[in-house]
């Protein structure tokens, strides 16, 4: 229905593949994603069940525990891959929700202007200042049963303000453009103008915002899990680190219990940021020269 700009389209792909920041970032993220999807199929061990008896195995010491075992004999590999899966779920849902709320609040505020904009903007600034982790702490502490879905929803609902501010600024600048007036003079209704004329212009920007939100949600979830307020059943990378620290893995020098989870989060989130920069360079060529 929307005639994509063919000339701009292949120009975009041409520069996209030439931009190495984008290539490296995307590669790392995909690597972990694949590991999260097919990883669990390589092991029947349940991440939390105590399988191995005796001294914790080092990685590759025995071929059925390639990543070694925890102090309780749990299979670190299965914890790691299931944890990865949880991280991607939280990132996608939490990040997605935060972007969604931010976009809606930003759009309506930016386009309507006047009283609605002032009210929404006040609300955004208030939620922006409140340290989101503190709110998450309170909410999670009071819930006996916490699923990963619920955690993602909470993270999503508290991480949207800066997206709303950014989208509002973008909508403001687009709204004053004359093609919006032209659309009004063509008899189009406001909602149709927002979604048919303004939104398509911001697709590239929304992608950038989602990537950052995805990274933010992952970090937030790991922090929550680490304090012990993560999902009550199942495993996540943050929970792994929590267990490791709680059971003095550091003193016992079981590094393969706490190094991989942190490394995975850093790699994924770092790769996401680098992808974001790469995409930003592709979208506005001015940055490319630097």
């Amino acid at each position: 229905m929307m005639e994509k700009k063919s000339k701009k389209r292949n120009e975009f792909f041409y520069f996209a593949f030439k931009n190495n920041k984008l290539r490296i970032g995307l590669l790392i993220v995909l690597f972990f994603l694949v590991m999260a999807i097919i990883g669990p199929s390589f092991t029947e061990n349940d991440p939390l069940s105590f399988i191995h008896r005796g001294v914790p195995l080092k990685p590759f010491e025995s071929e059925d525990f390639i990543f070694g075992t925890t102090v309780f004999g749990q299979d670190v590999y299965s914890q790691f891959v299931y944890g990865l899966r949880a991280t991607f779920v939280v990132g996608a849902i939490g990040g997605g929700l935060a972007t969604l709320i931010g976009v809606i609040v930003g759009f309506i505020g930016g386009y309507m202007g006047g009283k609605t904009d002032e009210g929404l903007n006040m609300g955004t600034n208030i939620v922006l200042v409140i340290p989101t982790l503190a709110v998450l702490l309170i909410i999670s502490a009071y819930l006996e049963v916490r699923g990963i879905l619920l955690e993602s929803v909470f993270i999503g609902c508290t991480a949207w303000p800066w997206t709303a501010r950014a989208v509002r600024a973008q909508t403001f600048s687009l709204r004053s453009r004359e093609f919006v007036d032209l659309a009004k003079m063509s008899g189009m209704k406001s909602l149709k103008i927002i979604f048919k004329e303004i939104a398509p212009n911001m697709m590239s920007y929304l992608l950038l915002v989602f990537i950052l939100q995805f990274g933010g949600a992952t970090l937030n979830a790991a922090t929550l899990d680490f304090i012990g307020l993560g999902p009550t059943q199942g495993i996540s990378l943050g929970l792994m680190m929590n267990h490791a620290v709680a059971h003095s893995a550091l003193l016992l020098d079981i590094w393969w219990w706490f190094i991989p989870p942190g490394l995975a989060i850093t790699a994924i989130v770092g790769a996401l940021y680098v992808t974001n920069v790469g995409l930003d360079e592709v979208f506005n060529p001015k940055l490319r020269e630097m």
């Binding site: 989101t132 009071y142 819930l143 550091l250 706490f258 996401l272 680098v274």
Partner: protein, 331 residues
Amino acid sequence: MRRYFGRKVLIYLLTFFVAVTIDWLIPRFMPGDPVLSMLGRVGTAHPDTVNAMREYFTRVFGLDVPIWQQYLNFWASLLRGDLGVSVYRFPREVADVIMTAVPYDIALLVPSILLSWIAGNKFGAYAARRKWLDNTILPLGYTLTATPYMWLAILLAWGLGIKLDLFPIAGAYAFDMAPHWSWRFISSVLHHWILPFASLFLVNFGGWAIGMRNVIIYELEADYSHYLEALGAPQQLVRKYAYRNALLPQLTGLALQLGVIVAGALVTEVVFSYPGIGFQLLAAVQNQDYFLLQGCFLFIIVGVLLANFIIDIVYVIVDPRTRRGMTGEMA
């Protein structure tokens, strides 16, 4: 000018009001009767402590009184500074428990935030200067910001603490000492402080470096930089102006990042069992001590709001555009 501050104070008061309301709402919002669920969790079988606890909880929660009355009581007790009694340290007041933790927090947060902000900005400015610098500092910066606070803490604790045994990794001072003014005690406190400080410092440092690098490139492309170059001003003067102007958005960035940094400090304290609010928070969570939890929450909110307000004042003093902008142009 007064109007600008008036509006700012209004927003902060409103924020505080909303935060406290959230804090009050959550326990009542959760399913089930909070008193029963809390009693169940406390898990002491001994009858009279259970009765004392139930009587205390019902009084504090005030479930018998209509909802708005509870709300007013909550505010009343809050304003009196009575945050309720800590469950897992039963006789001690929540406020008192937190007060002992706050100084450690400040000792950890304030230096790490300020130093990382200054160092990050300096490095970020250098990064924008030469290509090879940009290619080293930028990836380093991205990895650091992407590192979860607690993981870097773990790495430092494990690496420098245990493996090389250079620094202690637990507590704020040696266990065999009691707090007193002596050089030995102070050096022990410093010795314990290094690792948590370093881990917070490094993660924040990455963020500021990247932020400054992007902002200063924008300022170097601004019209006034082009004009200075056109008049043959040395690069050093052009960069000095661009750096000063780039610091301003970084200042607002600092205000917005406070929430995240405080969260980072909490987990870092948990790793090093550094007796700040984070540590108390973990204990509160593990012992289902809701009043301590809500007390910590309020302290964090107040701390962040206060810091935001201070940064706003500093911003107005530093950036003439906001100050003079308000008095309007002399057309």
